[in-house]
Symmetry: C2
Subunit: 349 residues, 2 copies
């Protein structure tokens, strides 16, 4: 019999979970609760139970797994309530407003002996998997820079996402994904965090930010999210000591560019600018470089819930471990501290 799933929160993401869980064998969405009655009616109209209250949802014995998809400042309350009711829990990202909230949730899950994980679904993004695969394959040698960006020009939706007290802003919304992706692929602790969080159009939250991280192995990573950018830079730009990897956007066009031969005469192809010649920044002779296609990857978001199910059934380890989400939130906490105080936060995370 399929494991019953209850949705706390039936807004945009709650509905998205519902629709897409149809592809996950072994999990059945049985109902939803939303504080807004109109959304509960949507749930009922789509054929699942519309719980009248959170308590009713949590009291339903058919619900063994709960997905929390409420505004960020309600996550802790809803996760703790679900755990207290004996449910396994998937929580939307960011799982908490800060690392301390997550520590409390992790402690509650540990005590209850229940599975608790975070919907860091962008680990299954095709562009990200291509970057991981390319690096693992050694195609660019040892990476020394990772640049990960998402850029839009539409601002922030006019709901709780632009309210600081509700956990709004781009570092908690998108930053949490981009940081998680990098931490999940770099096998080294974060040792420095420095950030510029700007509030250009939305005075209460960060609507454009840059975050520089340094890892213990010397790797430097730039994470950037913009909501006021009309001409985007590539989604990924990764420099390795043997080549450069670029993924342009979510369509996953891109390339690996590298030298065929490392040696060449510095004098070849000097660039004469109006302000003087440069050898260092002259382009290489075309015949000395090669451009390779990106690897093909197969990725399926539904593997996230398949893993959650397997973890509940004791067949697999969780892929998204709360300890990993905790590292991400510690970096985000550091980014807020860095930007507000004008400091670099040193850490071992």
């Amino acid at each position: 019999m399929a494991m019953g799933l209850g949705l706390i929160g039936y807004g945009g993401m709650g509905r998205w979970h519902h629709e897409n869980l149809a592809r996950v064998e072994g999990i059945e969405v049985v109902g939803a609760y939303d504080v807004q009655p109109m959304r509960g009616e949507l749930a009922a109209a789509s054929g699942i139970r519309n719980y009248a209250s959170l308590e009713e949802l949590l009291a339903d014995p058919r619900v063994r797994l709960v997905t929390v998809a409420t505004p960020n400042d309600f996550h802790k309350e809803h996760v703790l309530a679900a755990l207290a009711a004996g449910k396994h829990v998937v929580c939307e990202k960011p799982v908490g407003m800060d690392a301390q909230e997550l520590v409390e949730m992790m402690e509650a899950a540990r005590r209850a002996g229940l599975v608790f994980t975070v919907h860091q679904n962008r680990r299954w993004d095709e562009d990200y998997r291509i970057v991981r695969r390319t690096i693992e394959d050694g195609a660019i040698g040892t990476p020394f820079y990772i640049e990960s960006r998402v850029q839009g020009s539409r601002g922030i939706p006019g709901d709780w996402r632009c309210v600081r007290e509700a956990g709004g802003g781009m570092i908690l919304d998108w930053g949490v994904h981009l940081i998680d992706q990098i931490l999940w692929m770099v096998d080294s602790p974060v040792v420095e965090v420095y950030a510029h969080l700007l509030s250009v159009r939305f005075p209460d939250v960060d609507d454009n930010f840059k975050l520089l991280m340094k890892f213990g192995n010397g790797l430097s990573a730039l994470v950037q999210v913009d909501t006021l950018c009309f001409s985007n830079l590539p989604r990924w730009h990764v420099s390795g000591d043997a080549g450069t990897l670029v993924v342009d956007d979510w369509s996953c066009k891109g390339r690996v560019v590298k030298a065929k031969t490392v040696e060449f005469r510095m004098e070849e192809g000097i660039v004469y600018t109006k302000a003087g010649p440069t050898r260092t920044m002259a382009p290489r002779p075309v015949e000395s470089i090669e451009e390779l296609p990106l690897p093909k990857v197969e990725t399926d978001w539904a593997d996230y819930y398949r893993n959650v199910l397997a973890a509940v059934e004791g067949r697999e380890e969780l892929i998204v471990k709360p300890e990993q989400a905790l590292r991400v939130l510690r970096v985000i906490d550091a980014a807020f501290e860095s930007s507000s105080k004008g400091i670099c936060v040193r850490m071992q995370v």
Copy 2:
């Protein structure tokens, strides 16, 4: 009668000054001194005097202006010698190994009552002037990010430029230009400097770096120089609250992209990625944005020396003031400190 100019150092940049000064009316290159006799012979072969020693050059009464184009760790010694001999001085960049060296030179110039300036020639680069003009014209509103990059894949020339003690490395070579360009266009003090200086192929110096600066007015600037990058990002990417400016490279192709109308429905054009929908990062409807060409600018590097001549003759203020070069070196000093200690350097420069 033209003002006589003596060149201290007749390497690549010394010869470039010589060749290009032919276009500057009122200045005549009379001779050069180089510690390497072969270079002195090159000078003689090109029709100017080959001084047997620095003292001989400085004793020549025809020389009223000296251009110092020696390795970076010799600048102070040569500038001070030229000033002591009563010559006006142009010094190649970086004018000193650190800010303290420049303070000594400025003090000597002040005492001697002589003109002293730095060859920050990239203030005359076409790409830079286009960026300045675009911002001054208000085409992108108030800028909140400036990103300035030069990227190559050829490493560093194998001379003193890859030796730390000689003032090698990219922040002193290219960083000094890119920082100077930004400081000359932003009317606000630098308040924070944070840098990652990497030594990927050249263990003694920084061969790839990122530097984040924050200004007192809130502006955030990223300066990046790479020598191991096979797929370049745009030379300039500037985000303003009313649009985005991109200059691709030294050919000065680029564009201003902005909204025709600020308002639109968030629901239009949601992007469905494998890992979920996004409204924030969905592209705007094409009809809601417009792309404008970059302004045309006229720029002439020779205006640098024309201004030096006018300053010597008391007709104009110096364009490249030593006080400005001092700000740049204070930022560079801070970048070295930031990177080696893992801190953000707070300042008012």
